[in-house]
Symmetry: C2
């Protein structure tokens, strides 16, 4: 049996395509070491686990940690430590991940979904420090969210709280993956900003010259990043696709502000790198939607890609 070092905190981030592990000490704000590996194509849950355990053991070098915190990219039942499923990788259905990690690593393990864990990370170590309440949102291929209320993750009765991506803001709008129409995610996510731009490029041959140039006339190559770049260079079509997303997002934030009135909204994810004009459009829509008495503070996430990993540290040390 390996030696237990009670102050060691192991943090694991099971992402859709890459897995990351970090090792730190309780009370510290720097990593002793981190390790990352991309998942192979057609990976299964068993592959993901094997990769992560290899990364973790590499960092631990024979020691047992005091506690393990885990961020998982998919729905999780925190209280039982069970992954419900992964939307990307087969084999995760009702997987007792916390128990498995406890057995393998010899320390208590706490698992939650990535949005909740990243929210806690920003709250404890990032852009939400000093807040009593926040909604963290990731605006990326999808739009997800996680609440911290009175210093604790608010999970909701079915552990589904935070789904601001599926708030309807354009009734009768385009159909979302969830089956409804006009959800925040269906308009504001990177995937859907790019889709909107491609649709407009196909339908309006006279417009979007800069964007077309950028992808060498191959419309199928347009993604959210090229849309943002073209918008920054003054391409109107690109800006309109981006602005429509920003308005949908801001409307969702304003509605959430009226409903829950958190102290701060913290926004991360690739789409938030779309430039100051995008931020202004988000803030303007949120302000126009919130009641005058409701303050709406919207700030960029501070931890970037490391939010889930630092959140996993927070999740672990808050329990232990």
């Amino acid at each position: 049996m390996s030696i237990r070092d009670a102050d060691l905190v192991l943090a694991l981030d099971f992402g859709g395509t890459k897995h990351t592990a970090g090792l730190t000490r309780r009370g510290e704000r720097a990593w002793l070491a981190t390790a990352r590996e991309f998942a192979p194509g057609h990976a299964t849950a068993a592959d993901d686990l094997e990769i992560m355990l290899r990364l973790a053991r590499g960092l631990l070098e024979g020691r047992r940690p005091g506690v393990t915190g885990v961020s998982f990219g998919g729905p999780v039942d925190f209280y039982s430590g069970t992954v419900r499923l992964s939307h990307h990788v087969p084999g995760w259905e009702n997987h007792a991940l916390a128990l498995r990690l406890e057995t393998e690593l010899g320390a208590p393990a706490w698992v939650d979904n990535d949005a909740n864990v990243a929210a806690l990370g920003e709250f404890q170590f990032g852009a939400g420090q000093g807040c009593e309440s926040l909604l963290y949102m990731t605006v990326s291929t999808g739009v997800g969210g996680g609440w911290v209320l009175k210093g604790h993750i608010w999970r909701g009765h079915d552990r589904m709280a935070g789904e601001i991506g599926h708030m309807v803001v354009e009734p009768g709008g385009p159909e979302c993956v969830c089956g409804k129409r006009g959800c925040v995610e269906r308009i504001a996510s990177g995937t859907n900003i790019a889709l909107q731009a491609r649709e407009w490029l196909a339908a309006q041959p006279q417009r979007g010259g800069k964007l077309r140039e950028m992808v060498k006339q191959d419309i199928s190559a347009v993604d959210a990043r090229t849309v943002a770049q073209a918008a920054a260079q003054g391409d109107d079509l690109a800006w309109e696709a981006l602005a429509r997303g920003a308005r949908a997002l801001g409307t969702g934030i304003g509605n959430a502000a009226n409903l829950v009135n958190p102290q701060r909204f913290v926004l991360g994810g690739g789409v938030t790198k779309s430039g100051e004009r995008w931020w202004q459009a988000v803030r303007a829509a949120a302000r126009a939607t919130a009641l005058p008495e409701v303050q709406v503070e919207i700030v960029p996430a501070a931890l970037g890609d490391e939010a889930p990993l630092w959140g996993a540290v927070a999740l672990a040390i808050n329990q232990a």
Copy 2:
């Protein structure tokens, strides 16, 4: 100095038009006595206070209560016990109501707005018993709401949480008193159901026969109750006005369910007496808006007009 009876709990409900006081004992579920008085027209804060203190002293018969709980029909800062203003009665601006009541009645007093207090009342004594979280909504002349999360009122950073009435559900819809368009309240409140019906009656002379009959052809006499009655008798125009309100309300509830995922939604107020078809329409719209994994339980309030008064009891005994 009067005698202090530490088990006595005094509950006060400052309504827009009527004031109610109740006296009970800690741990009991019945009133020792209650008293009610309608406010005179053009009343001021001083009038309201005088009426309420008279009612309270009548109940107390010379005794001092252990604690006083207060529901106020307007924005309140709970932590300082200060009323911010009344939308109906002048003179309440920044009124230190808790302090005044403590001085007058010789017992600690706790004050919050009526939606929060009613939410707590339903949670502790009504349709929310046994829940860990709920959103209470009153659907009346306006649409208000109050959260109970983990057994406590959730007030939000600016004490503005619960404003589901001003969630936008019909962008570009009719203009609301708040200045926005298509708010839940602007479509779903009793006032606005009646307004919608009157507009359609004026514009569509062939329709709404039963509703016209009911008000003896005086369209200006149409209110939410007559709309509901006509709808129950098969009047299509009346039902459409009612159904549009139900859909707006249900959409707001579904969005709130995705965002916060409370265990239960408790609905009170006059409009909720509009019949089973209205409830079905609310539930259908909420179910269509919430994600499949999110349960949405919508139930009628159990305490009726007494929700604020019993909530005031709960507010008082939870602090003391």
